[in-house]
């Protein structure tokens, strides 16, 4: 499997628009049959990268290979890739059937075969009964599925999707995401998905490439990106709000991390074997932080690492988010997200003193970053 030619191999890709450096030294692969997502904030170069794969934008430098063939200089219509645009871009003057048949007609597939394959593709997206409708007679979600069928029917070497669910409301979006994942698995289509939606990316991707200002900060499996972000930017982009600057002091077999607050430093016992360069931050995901109410000034539980006071409580439905100001320095806060399952009596209340608990394995060390 490791020796199989990847669907996409991008090496050393750079793109300049005049003096603006939109994409910097990108290297990545999309392996056969997997979904890779390009994730990043607006303007980080995701669409530009996708359009370079499609052939609409010429890279300033670097090599792009699709299914093992270098395609630099090959125009879009000879690349055999599928692409779905955010606006779907169906042909308004053609019926659903004609839209889906277009790519096959361009490839001079025999009429009888076109008919079969179009019907098959429309069945796959559950729109077989709308073959004679026109795009304007369809809902947004249906149009999106036609666009998907149109892109898939040519069995492309790679499917490129630019924010395919952006224009849809939440419920429909989730439905279509599930549908799209099912289809992708079933057909084994190698896919590159562009998005800036963290939820979507975790649901759909085999691997996630996080982009930031034209660079790729990290490309890895979702758990890896979520739990062990490679840079502070990735950590923040994936919602890791507890990031602390500080320094490690050795104390016997364990390290002691001092959070550099505005005033005095706060001792934080971190028993884990994490290496710390000077000034490097650590991250603790809010889901990994639990709170125990310290109502009667009792003894702290074993896992307690710090103590503080609840300053903010946000009910989020499936969970509740707490902001805790740490004792010793009001400026330093830690965020805890506790699932709604916890018995309400045990839940900390606003302004209440609490013990802050987390496992040392939850502490993830980030590299010293030049950015941000």
């Amino acid at each position: 499997m490791g020796t199989e030619t990847p669907a996409v191999n991008a090496a050393g890709i750079n793109k300049h628009f005049g003096a603006f450096h939109a994409v910097r030294d990108l290297d990545f692969q999309v392996r056969k049959g997997e979904i890779v997502s390009l994730l990043g904030p607006s303007g980080c170069g995701k669409t530009t990268m996708l359009r370079m794969l499609a052939g609409f934008v010429t890279p300033t430098s670097g090599t792009i290979a699709i299914a093992g063939k270098v395609v630099n200089g090959v125009p879009p219509h000879r690349r055999h890739v599928g692409m779905m645009f955010q606006s779907y871009a169906l042909f308004p003057h053609m019926s659903v059937g004609e839209n889906v048949a277009f790519g096959l007609r361009m490839r001079s597939v025999p009429k009888a075969e076109i008919k079969l394959r179009v019907e098959e593709a429309l069945r796959a997206v559950r729109l077989a009964d709308r073959i004679d409708s026109y795009p304007r007679q369809l809902s947004g979600g249906q149009q999106q599925r036609v666009a998907l069928a149109r892109a898939l029917v040519i069995k492309p070497d790679v499917l490129l999707l630019d924010e395919p669910f952006g224009a849809l409301d939440r419920e429909l979006r989730q439905h279509l995401q599930a549908e799209m994942k099912r289809l992708q698995r079933q057909l084994g289509i190698s896919t590159l998905l562009v998005t800036h939606d963290q939820e979507e990316v975790l649901l759909l991707s085999d691997r996630i490439a996080v982009m930031h200002k034209g660079r790729m900060d990290q490309i890895a499996a979702p758990e890896e990106i979520f739990e062990r972000p490679a840079t502070r930017f990735v950590a923040e982009f994936m919602g890791g709000t507890n990031i602390f600057e500080g320094r490690v002091e050795q104390q016997g077999g364990t390290g002691l991390f001092r959070i550099a607050g505005s005033g005095d430093a706060i001792g934080l016992l971190a028993c884990g074997p994490f290496s710390q360069a000077a000034g490097a931050p650590v991250m603790i995901r809010p889901e990994r932080v639990t709170l125990v109410a310290n109502r009667d000034r009792g003894t702290p539980p074993a896992a307690a690492i710090m103590s503080g006071r609840v300053t903010e409580m946000n009910y989020l439905g499936s969970s509740t988010e707490y902001r805790v100001a740490l004792d010793g320095d009001d400026e330093v806060e830690i965020v805890s997200r506790i699932p709604g399952l916890q018995a309400s009596g045990e839940r900390p209340r606003l302004d209440e003193p609490v013990f802050v608990c987390f496992d040392s394995a939850a502490v993830h060390s980030l590299p010293v970053s030049s950015q941000l």
Binding site: A54, F85, H93, M106
Partner: protein, 286 residues
Amino acid sequence: MAGATLAEERSRRPWLLLAPSALLYAAFLLVPLALLVVASVTPAEGPGRLQAATGEYYAAFATDGITLTILLHTLRLASLVTLSCLVLGYPLALFMRRAGPKTRLAIMLVVVSPLLSSVIVRNVAWLLVLGREGIINTGLQALGLIDAPLPLLYNTFGVVVGVTHVYLSFLVLPLFASLTTINPAAEESAAILGASPLRTFLYVTLSLSPPGAVAGATLVFVLTMGVYLTPVIMGESFVTTLPMVITDLVRNQFEWSRASAFAIVLLLVVGGVMAASGWAERRLTT
């Protein structure tokens, strides 16, 4: 209650807005039109002529071979002008769609410029270009490409050139407007689905442009059906159109009734053309 008042106000307001222009149209379009209809059925002479309506001028138009031939010539001229506007206008509109805003504006100004200059100045300029001693003929002769001057003026060709020059903008602007409504992603979709640039143009761009082209072509056709001065100057007596005949009847022969009947016929033909194009446009857009 408040909602009802608002609704009432809503229904009244548009009519108020319409009033000034409605008055203008009534005074300068409907009234003259009514007078024209009356004149066209009024016998030219004889006692009690105002009581006896007659269809003789319409009958004369329909049975007179010459008037029918002239109508056909007028239709032919309008068709030729429309065709030449389409041939020139399509590439221009396509280019404008791709051009930057400055180039676009420059082209628009050039295309509209004939409308801003005097018809006499424009036509005299064409005489200098297309005439026997014009720059084209003298140039080609100087290069030894032709022996005798080409007949570029005082024929249908000259008139088509002159009229196309003025009316090109009426085709280019609606066509350009309709081209800008084509989603560029639709063309990119075609490319990514395997269509070469030529096929993308044929199957997507060209296939989506007819609404604008039909609107523009109709304007040009209808305007050309009524054009008068340009054929007079550039065609002299060699190209005769229905508006020229009508003008002649009024100015030289004082045949008001006949002229009115012919004008009504011209109006009906133009109306027919517009109805047909409206139908075609609806077919194209639904």
